[in-house]
Symmetry: C2
Subunit: 206 residues, 2 copies
DNA sequence: CGATTCTTTGAAAACAGTCAATCTGTGTGG
DNA sequence: CCACACAGATTGACTGTTTTCAAAGAATCG
């Protein structure tokens, strides 16, 4: 299982055997069956988690009882359990497996040790954080400036290896729309395109 | 100007005189008048930017010509110019000043040098990135699961020092709603107290 | 002042959400 | 192999919210 992570790291920096030995010595591998929880609501324990195989999601239960999916993670991606909310918020993050999965975890303490000890690991992680920030910013922009159908198309393009492995209603939740709206966006893409054309023609007339 | 940043850093880690000397030696201070651009559309130059005084915003022009505000930054906050988009996207990030402002900038190259040289600076910046990630994740959740009134109320609570310094239509843009919708959300009796506060502050102080 | 800029309001249209019923595919047990 | 349950997806009718367009009011600034 660890070789997946070793391969991943080799694609993101230069590491030697000593580095890998140290990293491996504080890694905890975990196997999950589909529907198993990695983190239940209320758990306080915080980890860094890397997905070697399978697919996981993080989500919350809103005040009205509906699920809001924060993120998906397939193989060679990270999944966070560290989204803190204001005091008084009723729910926190939940993580579970959408497929039989394998993950590697590090306690935050050990992860900090690795960052302080291995310069190229530190460098890699900073780049990773900055790229994650950009990814989230792009998602915000997409929600703010695109309609249902555009957001779905963007999702397909951004996650070509993911979109056909998860049920549509989860994609709808991730995109912030009802499953019915996503269903309709998928079924009549021509309508929306036509409609946009009409708007731009109208816009050009004055 | 640099003393604001020195004070900020002292609140986020332990630094000695040598550290500050090194940091100062690669800092570039800039004064901006209201409406000045810090980064125009199409500029390739990337920096890390810290706001010492005033208020800035980053935004994009969408394909239909409307502005989407990504972030605001007041004193003791950072403002990013590094949101990369897919190839073919027509527009990129723009940053301008909403008030007369003072900022400190570092080239990405010098910033990397600081991170590699000063361990506590590296530690501080990583915490900062992780907190920024959480902030963006919270914003995504807020957009996905709250309506117009709730999002406005949350904005007021989250940015008490910011909300009465910028025009409402910019808040609307940041929250992903039309200015008219925000205006109506504010006029609901439940929220008029904010309205009154703002008016009295404006009337008394400015 | 006048000229901007910003905010509010009204009415109509577009859009997404909700509820309920139906359809589809998959896997299980008899 | 069939019948069945079940999870997921779709569709229609209806409701509610937000956007859009247009106009008019405030506030601000030179």
């Amino acid at each position: 299982m660890f070789d997946v992570f070793e391969n991943y790291l080799n694609n993101h920096g230069i590491f030697d055997y000593e580095d890998f030995d140290l990293i491996r010595s504080v890694s905890f591998c975990k196997k999950l069956n589909k529907k198993d929880y990695l983190l239940r609501e209320g758990d306080i324990c915080r980890h860094k988690t890397f997905v070697c195989k399978g697919c996981l999601r993080s989500y919350r239960i809103d005040k009205d009882g509906t699920e809001s999916i924060l993120n998906f993670a397939i193989e060679r991606r990270w999944i966070n359990d560290d989204v803190n909310f204001q005091i008084g918020e009723p729910s926190s993050t939940i993580i579970d497996a959408l497929e039989d999965s394998e993950v590697i975890q590090w306690s935050n303490e050990n992860f900090r040790m690795l960052l302080a000890t291995i310069p190229s690991f530190n460098l890699f992680y900073r780049k990773h954080l900055e790229e994650s920030l950009n990814e989230k910013q792009r998602r915000i922009i997409s929600i703010l400036s695109n309609n249902a159908q555009e957001r779905y198309e963007e999702f397909i393009n951004n996650f070509p290896k993911l979109y056909n492995r998860i049920p549509l209603y989860m994609i709808a939740s991730y995109l912030g729309m009802s499953r019915e709206t996503l269903s309709r966006a998928r079924s009549i893409p021509q309508y929306t395109r036509y409609h946009h054309n009409r708007e731009s023609i109208l816009g050009a007339t004055y």
